[in-house]
């Protein structure tokens, strides 16, 4: 008998089925041996341990992903693992976001052997870490993708409909900049296949190059069954001059602004915004954002018969109107007026934007966000460094980092120098703020970090070291 047949014979139990003592293995066992079953088991078990495991009839054909990005250098691999895994590591904070963004910008990729260890980090930032990481992260998600789908670093006309909602929106946003009409046609065709979240993202891209030609599509979506989609469509419609929604929104805003004259020698116009009676103080920012993010500063100025600069000046003494005008200035990119507002009545205005998210004001691409940062952030005037939440939120909105001039100003600011000494602060801002500093200023950042207490600067120093390594590696000759 074969060893596996002998073992199978023991499954039912020797009480029911006595072991058969025939064959080569049982040849040395006497039939009346009281330990016959044990001996037979030992021999069969041992024989099985000698046998070669059976091979499958055929192996899968696995086509690898053609990833042309450069693999991280060994020192960078070690630092990345330490930064996003293990003790004190995090795969989803400002440092991790900054590293993922740098890897994407420099066209690098994690070593394939590190993907399982980097687990959460790869899943979170797969789209930035290259095709191989994306293929690894989407394994087993049930989506069928055509051969070669992952080979291209960016999605294209043939593959964008198979991508994740964020990648789809990214592709359409890029197309809107060069060919808005074609992008709109693609959106209209794809909407029926998408869930609410993806529909909202796609419609949100219409803010780029928004024009009268988009009106028909937006009006068709104004009755969408998903409230979020409907809301976005109505907001965009309100930005189109001449639409009923836009006229109504402007009329509503103007009706709430009271005009007066002030000053004894030199009479000047002053404006005051009357909030709706049912809006309490803590609800004001949200109401202002909702109301003023649908119209541009120029439209309000036209309706009030004032140049934009005069409008800002007239509103400076009001408690709420500068906030609303700051939001509206973002909508039609009146960044000079925005700078005036933030330098004057609204020094911490940037935090109000973060509460709503910059997308709400149509700041979709890196250039717009950099212009917003230059207009709103004035670190030299800060009394103290931002809190942990504000710093994290700022970094989340500015993944490309601060404009160099703002970053340099920040590193030399009095607030940085006294940053960890204020009451109630333990330096939680250090890592997210360090993640905002652009590559060119990394040496200066390292000097500033070294001067901070060691219990606050560890992660930021690690991040700085890793970012420097990435920059150096990307600039080296591949040969």
């Amino acid at each position: 008998m074969r060893p596996d047949a002998i073992v199978a014979g023991f499954m039912l139990g020797t009480a029911r089925q006595a072991p058969r003592l025939d064959g080569a293995l049982a040849s040395g066992i006497a039939a009346d041996d009281p330990a016959a079953a044990l001996k037979l088991l030992a021999l069969a078990g041992q024989a099985l341990r000698f046998s070669r495991p059976s091979a499958p009839p055929a192996f899968d054909d696995v086509a690898g992903v053609a990833d042309t990005r450069r693999i991280l250098s060994p020192p960078a691999r070690r630092l990345l693992l330490r930064l996003v895994t293990g003790k004190g590591g995090s795969a989803d904070d400002a440092a991790a976001r900054a590293v993922a963004h740098a890897i994407a910008r420099l066209r690098l990729r994690p070593h394939p052997f590190d993907l399982p260890r980097l687990g959460g980090f790869v899943r979170k930032f797969a789209e930035q870490l290259g095709p191989a990481a994306l293929e690894w992260a989407t394994r087993g998600d049930g989506e069928a993708r055509p051969a070669g789908y992952f080979d291209a670093d960016e999605v294209g006309p043939d593959t964008w409909t198979l991508a994740t909602p964020a990648r789809k929106a990214g592709y359409i946003a890029g197309l809107r900049k060069t060919d808005p009409a074609h992008a709109r046609t693609l959106i209209a065709a794809q909407l029926v296949n998408e869930r609410a979240e993806a529909r909202a993202r796609l419609i949100g891209t219409l803010v780029i190059g928004l024009g009268a030609d988009d009106r028909a599509l937006l009006e068709s979506l104004a009755a969408d069954r998903a409230p979020r989609v409907k809301d976005i469509a109505l907001r965009l419609l309100a930005r189109l001059p001449g639409t009923a929604a836009a006229e109504a929104r402007i009329a509503d805003i103007v009706s709430r602004i009271a005009t007066a004259k002030a000053g004894l020698l030199r009479r000047r116009t002053t404006l005051k915004l009357q909030l709706p009676a049912n809006i309490r103080e803590h609800q004001a920012p949200a109401w202002l954002a909702e109301t003023f993010s649908a119209v541009g500063l120029g439209q309000i100025a036209d309706a009030l018969g004032l140049p934009p600069a005069d409008l800002v000046e007239a509103a400076r003494d009001d408690r709420h109107l500068p906030v609303g005008l700051a939001f509206a200035a973002c909508i039609d990119r009146h960044f000079d007026e925005l700078r005036t507002i933030c330098a004057g009545p609204l020094p911490d205005g940037w935090t109000t934007f973060l509460d709503q998210g910059l997308e709400a004001f149509g700041l979709a691409d890196a250039a717009d966000r950099a212009a917003w940062a230059s207009a709103t952030l004035n670190p030299a005037a800060w009394q103290m460094m931002p809190g942990a939440w504000q710093a994290e939120a700022l970094q989340q909105q500015l993944v490309d980092g601060l404009p160099p001039a703002v970053a340099a100003e920040l590193l030399d600011s009095p607030a940085w120098r006294g940053g960890t000494q204020g009451a109630g602060t333990q330096g939680e801002w250090v890592t997210p703020i360090a993640a905002l500093i652009p590559a060119a200023l990394l040496p200066r950042l390292r000097e500033r970090l070294a001067a901070l207490p060691p219990e606050t600067n560890g992660r930021a120093l690690l991040l700085t070291e890793l970012l420097s390594l990435l920059e150096r590696h990307a600039n080296e000759d591949p040969a």
């Binding site: 023991f10 044990l38 341990r49 070669r52 690898g64 330490r82 052997f113 993907l115 260890r117 690894w136």
Partner: protein, 468 residues
Amino acid sequence: MLSIEKIEALAPDQSSLAAARKLLKPAGWPTLAEDGAGLVWGECQGSGATPYRVALTEADAGYKCTCPSRKFPCKHALALMWMRVEATTPFAPGSPPDWVSDWLGRKRGPSAAAKPDADAPPKARPSVAALGEDAEADAPDPAAIARAAQQRDRNRAQREALIGEGVDALDRWIADQLERGLAGFDQRAQAECATLARRLVDAKAGGLANRVEQLPGLLFAIDEAHRGAVAAQQLATLHLLASAWRRQDRLPAALRADLRQMIGWTIGRDALLADPLAVKAAGRWMVLATVEEVQPDRLRRIETWLARTGGDEESPPFAVLIDFVPVSTGSTGNAFAPGEVIDATLVFHPSPVPLRALIAAQTGGSMADEDWQPAAADLDAAWAGYQSALAQRPWLGEWPIAARDVTIRSAGGRLFAVGGTLALPLAPQDADSAAPLLDAGVIGLFGLWDGQALRPKFAGTALGRWTA
């Protein structure tokens, strides 16, 4: 800077200082080095298979040691500080190895919480001067030594008898399981194995007890269709051990010594170094894998797998260093990392296939830059090596498989190591970590074969080194 007064202030108690003083001999420290800027590190050979690694920053007396002691600082850290203060032992200049740099990278500044409580009642501080008083008490008493030896012999005979009863109980239990049938064994294994393990612990057969207690976990880790066959193989091995125990006088000396270790006899470091059966092998060894596992007896088993990369070609090609640390002390991690190379003399536990070893003397170590490739052998040759080892040691456990020209391929949702005429299935729990090897082409692979599946641990590939 460090001083004797500072060491006294840091020492948790007088006994720590006394223990540290015994470690001041440089012979017990295979590595003592410094970077010239206040960073000092060393390796201290303790009673375990692997040396403890100690690092120290002189400026703030920060320290780190891999030993499982609950005292902070431990005797190893105190001894290193002490040697530094005495300045009679040379410290080799060098750049810090990875394990020191890694600690330094994670090290926090001095903690405010460490400051002594001014309101606490004063207590006697440990003192170096006080150590002189204890030294005379160490003189041995010949009569006491003789009494202890007699007592040991009595205990040994008593234990032999108890183990004999234990293995008889084990055989009865296996026969009982066969009578009831192995088809449902997995369902009743938890309770039945726990009962038998307690009986074997009472019989002083700790090795057998651990093996029995681990059986249910082993079965539940595999798919249901194969549990019956695996249970049969495990029970067969247990019966082999029981039968061999009864006939141990007729076994070759090395196999008998191996058997006794499997049953639960332990052999101390000094006894092993003096054992004529123990193979000694000097050479260059590369760390290929570290494995940590918590045993049912609440000990953490830490295995360090080494491959010989230089030295005597006749000596064993692989070795495993095994240390046990109580789980309650918290995870200490392994002192070695895959890829490290050590120059050392290993002494192997007596066995027909020497594998388990400890470091008898270490002369150096570093992180290897080169990639590892197994000695010229394909998967078929490695399999033949496994079969040969199994023939010589029938209760063989995990066995190192190392082969060149291996590819990792998938079929039916499982991964296989394919080479020559063989396809070894990889353990399902390693599928995620080994998946990148699917694209790595032809590799040199090291893994541990447990009789059912291969656990890949280390690979040399065109993309560099892969570790599990």
